[in-house]
């Protein structure tokens, strides 16, 4: 940051000219579930273990150049209590048609991906878990590389077309929620897994004011990781064996639309995540192939009841078409939400979820198997969320 600031032309040296801005927000959530413990919290007893605080510093030394950095403190059950770098990037916007952003940048796919961690920017306490899983959020948010973007007017009758293209390296940490069940079963990824990711998105702002229709495709090249398999060899002794895990190339397309008019907001998104790969432990002569094909969608509506109060509802589903026919194959959820702004800084959200299926953030450690419940999980769970936030 200091180096970039140092490179700014002498004509723009005053703090006023640099247009330095500092923003931030903090949220505190409370989770209560009727059955399963969720998001690695003891939610069935009521859990406040969901805290986030974000600090953002940006500067705009020239009209076309912006630089910024954003850090985050995050606590979510047993997954968090960490400080991470959300993004740190320089952005050069030549004109409406072309801009480029590089560094650690937000990955702009889907309707919410690049803002899914920005709680003050949306109605919901929890985005649809079928498409935006909270426990794997940090891995999906950003990549090291760049984004090109711009927009074209299609003429008075046809609206505007916005494009975003991106490429770079993404690393999913071994502690990510994606690998929770794998880790709990004894297979760890000490260095995480990573590789090249790229994608392209088009957003058509249609002539119908407020209606945007979009599509994108995310392509991940083959990703590789080293793994460690822990095996109980008897007598309370555990041995570790090294191996590798590889994911094949895959494309994850999504289609989405959003319509905002007066007090209404309606949005929908559909995605597909087809992933296959294998884990190999040579010393044990074990090759474990895996494959998932997760098709997910959501539809949401919100309405501004008063200047301060909004209400919303969404329905979402996700089905892994490669999974066995058990409740672990799917997630269905209805969510009811209310959002209240006390003023422009302070807000509160309350939300009720009706989960059916277990394809959501459950872990084995807090949902231990019993004789009566071999998977440790009930097929249905109700989740209540209270959340307060402050932003500036």
């Amino acid at each position: 940051m200091a180096l970039i600031l140092g490179a700014i032309p002498a004509s723009a040296q005053s703090l006023e000219d640099l247009n330095i801005q500092i923003h931030g927000y903090a949220t505190q959530g409370f989770l209560y579930t009727t059955q399963n413990n969720i998001f690695t919290t003891s939610s069935s007893n009521g859990s406040p273990a969901w805290t986030e605080a974000v600090l953002n510093v940006g500067a705009q030394p020239t009209p076309k150049l912006r630089i910024g950095v954003q850090g985050r403190y995050s606590l979510l059950g047993n997954l968090g209590n960490t400080i991470t770098l959300d993004w740190a990037a320089a952005d050069y916007k030549a004109d409406e048609r072309f801009g480029v952003r590089f560094g650690k940048v937000k990955t702009p796919n889907g309707l919410f991906n690049d803002i899914q961690d920005i709680d003050p920017s949306y109605q919901w306490a929890l985005l649809p878990q079928s498409v935006y899983p909270l426990m794997s959020r940090n891995s999906q948010l950003a990549h090291y590389g760049g984004v090109v973007y711009g927009s074209f007017k299609l003429g008075r009758e046809l609206g505007r077309l916005e494009y975003r293209g991106w490429s770079g390296k993404r690393v999913i940490a071994g502690s990510d929620g994606y690998f929770l069940s794998q880790t709990e079963s004894g297979t760890a990824l000490p260095n995480g897994i990573g590789g090249i990711t790229s994608g392209f998105a088009l957003h058509w702002r249609t002539p119908l004011v407020g209606l945007m229709i979009g599509a994108d495709d995310v392509r991940d090249n083959q990703w590789n990781a080293s793994i460690t398999q822990s095996v109980n060899v008897g007598g309370g002794v555990t041995a570790s064996f090294n191996g590798t895990e590889a994911l094949s190339n895959f494309d994850a397309p999504s289609f989405f639309a959003k319509y905002e008019k007066n007090k209404w907001m309606i949005a929908a998104e559909q995605t597909r995540l087809p992933v296959s790969g294998s884990g190999v432990i040579p010393a044990l002569a074990v090759i474990t192939p895996f494959r998932l094909d997760q098709k997910s969608w959501y539809g949401m509506v919100s309405y501004k009841v008063t200047n301060k109060l909004s209400a919303g509802i969404y329905d979402t589903q996700s089905i892994d078409h490669q999974a066995a026919l058990t409740p672990a194959r799917y997630l269905k959820d209805w969510a009811l939400n209310a959002h209240y702004d006390f003023n422009q800084f302070l807000y509160a959200k309350v939300e009720q979820h009706f989960y059916d299926g277990t394809l959501v953030g459950y872990d084995a450690a807090l949902n231990p198997a019993t004789k009566a419940l071999p998977t440790g999980l009930q097929p249905n769970t109700r989740l209540t969320i209270l959340k307060v936030g402050v932003s500036f």
């Binding site: 009209p63 959300d86 952005d91 409406e96 803002i115 003050p120 920017s121 501004k304 422009q344």
Partner: protein, 140 residues
């Protein structure tokens, strides 16, 4: 009945007074902005961060009022949101690294001073406020 009529007339005249007392907003721009009219949609794009240029007008830099009747009226008339929802939209852009928040100032005079002295600047003020050194954009 007469009393009721008086009350009705009183409330009606108060409402008229309130409506008339509401500031009417005009959109002003630095003389360097090449256009003299702007569509409501293009204006909305500029003030919500969706665009940084006006068709035929070149790059523009929006400036906001910190609050008040003129600010609320501008947001309702041209953005379709209240202040809280409007700022939430900007937070999406700020916290995802896509934009910086436009400068906010206190009072119409500060808006006029900024717009008059910064090339490409565009803002809004009450219709009755003095606005020398800037041009008024017609909203199509």
């Amino acid at each position: 009945m007469k009393k009721l009529l008086y009350v009705f007339l009183l409330v009606a005249s108060a409402s008229i007074f309130v409506v008339q007392a509401k500031a009417q907003v005009i959109v002003i721009a630095n003389p360097s902005v090449k256009t003299s009219e702007v569509s409501k949609n293009d204006l909305k794009d500029v003030f919500t961060g969706a665009s940084t240029a006006l068709p035929g007008g070149g790059n523009v830099v929006p400036i906001l009022l910190k609050g008040g009747t003129v600010h609320e009226e501008f947001l309702q008339a041209y953005i379709g949101k209240n202040d809280t929802a409007y700022r939430a939209g900007w937070r999406s852009l700020i916290f995802s690294g896509q934009a910086s928040m436009p400068k906010s100032v206190d009072g119409d005079a500060a808006v006029v001073a900024f717009v008059a002295s910064n090339a490409g600047a565009i803002g809004y003020i009450g219709k009755a406020s003095p606005h020398e050194g800037v041009k008024v954009l017609q909203i199509k």
